[in-house]
Amino acid sequence: MSLPSSFDPSWPEPLARREFLRQLALAGAATLSMGAPRLLADEKPAAPAATADACILIWLAGGMAAPETFDPKRYAPYEKGMSYERVLSTFPAIPTSVDGVRICQGLESIAQVMDRGTLIRSAVQPDLGSILHSRHQFHWHTGYVPPQTVACPHIGAWMARVLGPRNPVMPAFINIGQRLEGIGESEELKSFTTAGFFGGEFGPMNLPFPEEAAAAVRPPKGMDAGRFVNRDRAFRRLVDAGPDRDLLSDHHQQSMLRSMDNAYRLLSAKERAAFDISLEAKEVQQAYDTGRFGRGCLLARRLVENGARFVEVTTEYVPFFQWDTHGKGHETVAKMHAQIDRPIARLIRDLEARGLLDRTLVVIASEFSRDAMIEGRPGSTAKDQSFNKSSIMTSPDHYGLHRHFTGGTSVVMFGGGVKKGHVYGATADERPLVAVKDPVSISDMHATIFRAMGISPKTAYDVEGRPFYATLDGKGVPIPIFG
């Protein structure tokens, strides 16, 4: 159900108070929040000129193996009894639209758009002494390793806090495809899917099921548009009819009403149509629809077209599913290829066709890579979590990269001012497949994303009387991948 097109454009009812509230809303939500901006006298962050206005983070949660996707190495097909030592990649390499750059078989559509972006092959992470996906995801999303003494904001919350919404009715930070209840490690996921000390105003709007996103901006189930409008109108009348007139000017009460206004503004704005992927042409829906993730990419595109600032869309983290392959790696990754290949390529082409790609940074990333033999990084004492502890493969289920590897992985960036058809950094050609050229830490990766969005990595906010920086200690340095 959607609100009828014939419906009264002046709704919600214009009360005298409303115009006042609207002006307050324009003044921005910044004053509501905890965490005042901090300018350190000796480190005034010079905001770089933004090369992007919006950011889409495509999050391939669970540990996307770079040698199975964007950094193919020596390929060996499965043979019963073969040693793990022979296997670096379980997929052969294919050419891309960039001369000399090859990625893995299964990503044929993405291969054709690689000339639109920069392929970073040297991202590195600490192994933290033991692999716990949600902990590494916390690190990747906030720039800080848990536990921390303050609640750390998600990178999307940073954008919401520093830049605010791009379109005032659109939530600045939208998170697509990740359930936060009823799955393993959900408490850990929640701990970074948050605005942290910035406060709820900058937190994510969570849309775990893209096909149900439209419901998030519609009246509740079973309530038609007329009733929804009527109910809000009655609420406003009750506010105005309250006996304590003095309290109408109370700042606290005003901010509460402003939030109600903001919420209703989205629920009645034309932009709410952006949440409804069923409004796309059937052909387009089919082109994206490889499953929930594919539909999420379509939703992300619609949201960015309508002014969203930061959108994350994920294949979803559920322990031992999706990219979290502890067994049957080859078979599972082939399925993951099929899930991501078409929608990502289509997303890039659609953004380009609409003239949005130049000002939209699309980032494809995961918490770390995988390897057939090494857990963590070479020399790590991290506990081996692979199902098959033997050094040889006796079943096709053993064929795959089943160990978590933090020594080098790939991140792809499209649009948003990054160089086109460019490769940055490299990993070794033989095991260990560590980054051997231009390693990029999480701090530097964040600095790079922030740089595109026009945010200094030294940006700091006060919490408990001390500065908290956009990148660890304000020391992240953008990598030179901008055109």
Partner: protein
């Protein structure tokens, strides 16, 4: 030697024997090049030159200034060196040769300092010991000590005392602040009708006497402050331990706060979760190892000290140093610790010490348990005013909406009214650390009972001026509890296994008057470790002879996994969730003489697993005799299935064999046991309804600001965010509660739509609606009271700022 002495003593006389003028030559150089990072409250590298004493103390890397010796003073070295890592200032313009020579001459001449000079006046130094301020005279007959202090404060500033709040506002405020629940419509009506002059004080007393409601409510505050939760990060790897049962029992019995604190600092197994902190899998930053978490948690919770900065390096923003953070950590540690600065070991050992040696010190050579006991004694030392002030300030904040020291964790910053803080702290001590008495002390003041302040925009940016209590937003838990109760949708199940029963009398050894006597039983064929099969069914029976007619009788029953209960051949009920015991009124099923209780228990699951049955009935006979019958060794079992009436007999089949049951240990079923004890205590017919603070956080509560408690939370955000407003406007969780509530309310016989609207206003806002409000409400309800109309009015009222705040 002699010459040096003379030199120093001469040099310290300003303007004499020294060619350098401190005030006019030295100060400008220091201010220009060093002031930004090393004066005022800035202590980069742990070094301040704000006062001469601080200058002489040096920084993290040792002494900076050696009076009389420019060559041994690091000051001269760093301002002249070419080494980019050592040079000061680290960036920007160097000191000119002339400026360097001024400093060199000044140091060589003994570094004279103008008496009392500081670059900025020294930061506020919070008192440690208790203070006993004299109470100002009574004004206007307001004799409450809080009011005497505040009246003096307002009259000195020619400000008016805030006007009293209405009875209705006070009633709602006191209910929500003290027990977290809205007053019911009946309570609101009764309070309005009460004409006694002391009815407000009576209300405060009666609310604080509601032990279970009080404990339910204050669990939320303490869970936040002690970062205790029923689920959350750290539990995944066993890296976190709940203290819920200990905490609940402590609140239920209103444990004195000094004892409460000692049990957390030097914990037992039941309370150690707080001290142990959260342990993540893998490597952790040196500043977040469990020992330093202990240091931070004890400092923050009990002393309002932020030890987080100092856990990594000497704090830049306050007086706490790396060695202070490690001092507390070393008390807790059962290993030798080394000071680690920003994850780089310093080679210096950590020595057990607590931050206020004025009151005594922990003996680092003693075993851990003894060290912790010493620390607990020091934290709760009668002369430790800081400990007392910290908690009363928190309680004041909860009730009055703003701390006397604010934020409440920044106890090193000045209070807006030091006497007020000390009056409260002294009262805490006089009442032997009785938290309820302290709450009563605040709630019975005219200050608490005054009209809420009307906050201007930007009020938080200005210096605080007392104008009455500040409105507080309902916590997520208060909001959800309120909506549950208005809509009649309160669930029954709670998460922690806490005993929601009246606190036991000090002498009673048993766990309360309505103890669960029932033991878990199953068939006695469990020998040799046999585990009951899936689908295994057993009949259990007990004959009960009653000497008289039954006055009242109720029972609780549960079975892992399912049961059917029969009494005298009639089926009473069944259940299939062992965590959700059922309760029945049996009065009409029992007779004088012999009664047959039969329960069929069935084991379920995917594989053989333990099975157990509990049953207990409490009977009161006419004439007053009481009787309790629980599952125990007197029960019998049979493998034969009963018929539809629960009778295990068979025509034409061999007579069933009845054998004595086996008694099991109840450990796996503790959750059910706690629940059954609570149900029996509640009179058996109905379990106590849940409270939002006693269930796991869900999306709605999370959206409304319930934190995930990885960090200590002492103040929740007071603002409603846009996303929260959206969840309330169209989220399915809220909509579902309203729809269910409307269906229930529709069933009640309302005299008119006005009657429902008035009930809702009285229940939700503790007041009657004004005529205009009534008109809007009735318009929404419609003449025939549609469910939609009821749901929409419920929503509109719950969205009112008046509803969402305590004011």
């Amino acid at each position: 030697m002699r010459r040096t002495l003379i030199l120093v003593s001469l040099a310290s006389l300003p303007g004499f024997a020294s060619a350098v003028d401190f005030a006019h030559e030295v100060v400008p150089v220091l201010r220009k090049h060093c002031g930004e990072c090393h004066t005022g409250d800035k202590k980069k590298g742990g070094f301040s030159m704000n006062t001469r004493a601080a200058f002489l103390e040096g920084g993290e890397n040792g002494a900076v200034l050696v009076p009389g010796s420019a060559d041994r003073s690091k000051l001269l070295e760093v301002v002249t060196t070419e080494d980019a890592d050592l040079r000061m200032p680290p960036k920007g313009e160097r000191l000119s040769p002339a400026e360097v020579s001024v400093l060199r001459a000044w140091v060589a001449a003994g570094a004279a300092w103008t008496e009392g000079f500081a670059f900025k006046q020294p930061a506020y130094e919070a008192p440690l010991r208790p203070r006993r301020p004299e109470l100002p005279p009574v004004q206007g007959g307001r004799a409450h000590p809080i009011d005497r202090v505040l009246d003096a404060w307002t009259s000195a500033r020619r400000m008016p005392s805030p006007a009293p709040a209405s009875d209705a506002a006070f009633l709602r405020r006191a209910h929500l602040d003290l027990i977290g629940l809205l007053p019911t419509d009946a309570e609101a009506a009764a309070f309005a009708a009460d004409q006694r002059p002391d009815k407000r004080a009576r209300l405060v007393d009666s609310l604080l006497a509601r032990d279970i409601d009080y404990a339910d409510h204050w669990m939320v505050f303490w869970n936040d402050l002690l970062r205790n939760d029923y689920a959350g990060t750290g539990y995944i790897d066993g890296g976190r331990k709940q203290i819920s049962v200990w905490l609940y029992e402590s609140l239920l019995s209103n444990k004195p706060y000094d004892q409460f604190t000692r049990e957390l600092v030097a914990p037992s197994a039941a309370s150690e979760g707080f001290a142990k902190g959260i342990v993540w899998r893998g490597a952790v930053s040196a500043g977040q190892v469990p020992e330093l978490q202990f240091s931070q948690s004890v400092s923050q919770t009990f002393l309002g000290i932020n030890m987080k900065c100092a856990s990594c390096h000497d704090s830049f923003v306050d007086r706490w140093k790396l060695r202070d953070a490690y001092g507390l950590a070393a008390i807790f540690a059962d290993r030798k610790m080394e000071l680690v600065r920003c994850d780089i070991p310093t080679g210096k050992p950590a020595a057990a010490a607590w931050p206020y040696p004025e009151l005594g010190q922990v003996d680092g050579s003693k075993p851990r348990a003894e060290r912790l006991a010493q620390l607990a004694a020091l934290v709760t030392h009668p002369e430790n005013g800081r400990f007392q002030r910290t908690i009363v300030n928190r309680l004041w904040h909860r009730l009055m909406g703003r701390g006397i020291v604010h934020p409440t964790d920044a106890m090193d910053t000045p209070p807006w009214n030091a006497d007020l803080l000390d009056v409260l702290a002294n009262r805490l001590v006089e009442t032997k650390y009785d938290l309820k008495a302290t709450l009563r002390f605040i709630a019975t003041s005219a200050a608490y009972q005054a009209r809420a302040e009307i906050l201007e925009r930007g009020a938080d940016d200005k210096a605080y001026a007392y104008r009455g209590p500040r409105a507080k937003r309902l916590t997520a838990e208060q909001f959800v509890d309120a909506v549950w109760r208005l809509t009649g949708t309160t669930p029954a199940k709670i998460e922690p296994q806490v005993p929601r029963v009246a606190p036991r009398a000090p002498s009673a050894e048993n766990s309360g008057p309505e103890a669960l006597l029932a033991r878990p039983v199953w068939s006695d064929d469990l020998a040799g470790g046999r585990v009951p099969a899936v689908g295994e069914a057993r009949a259990f029976r007990r004959q009960v002879k009653l000497a008289a007619e039954v006055e009242s009788a109720h029972c609780v029953v549960t079975c892992d996994n399912a049961f059917v209960l029969y009494v005298n051949g009639r089926k009473i009920g069944e259940g299939s969730d062992w965590e959700d015991p059922q309760s029945y009124d049996l009065a009409e099923f029992l007779v004088k003489g012999a009664n047959q209780i039969t329960v069929v228990g069935r084991n379920l699951g995917d594989a053989p697993n333990p099975a157990g049955l509990y049953f207990q009935m409490n009977v009161r006979l006419k004439g007053g005799e009481r009787l309790k019958v629980g599952t125990d060794a007197a029960w019998e079992w049979s493998a034969s299935a009963p018929d539809a009436r629960g009778v295990v007999a068979a025509k034409g089949k061999p007579a069933p064999v009845w054998k004595p049951v086996a008694l099991l240990t109840g450990d796996p079923w503790r959750r059910a046991e706690a629940r059954m004890a609570e149900m029996l205590a509640a009179g058996g017919t109905r379990a106590l309804p849940a409270r939002a603070g006693l269930v796991k956080s869900d999306l709605l509560q999370r959206s409304l600001g319930r934190p995930n408690r990885e960090q200590i939370v002492s103040m929740r955000p007071n603002e409603l965010s846009t996303l929260e407003a959206m969840d309330l406007a169209n989220g399915q969780a809220m909509a579902g509660l309203l729809t269910a509530g409307a269906a229930r309310l529709k069933q009640r016989a309302w005299a008119s739509p006005e009657a429902l609207a008035r009930w809702l206003y009285l229940s939700a806002l503790s007041r009657e609606p004004a005529a205009k409000e009534l008109a809007v409400a009735v318009g929404l309800l419609g003449p025939d009271l549609s469910e939609q109309g009821i749901a929409d009015l419920l929503w509109a009222v719950c969205m009112l700022p008046e509803f969402q705040t305590i004011r």
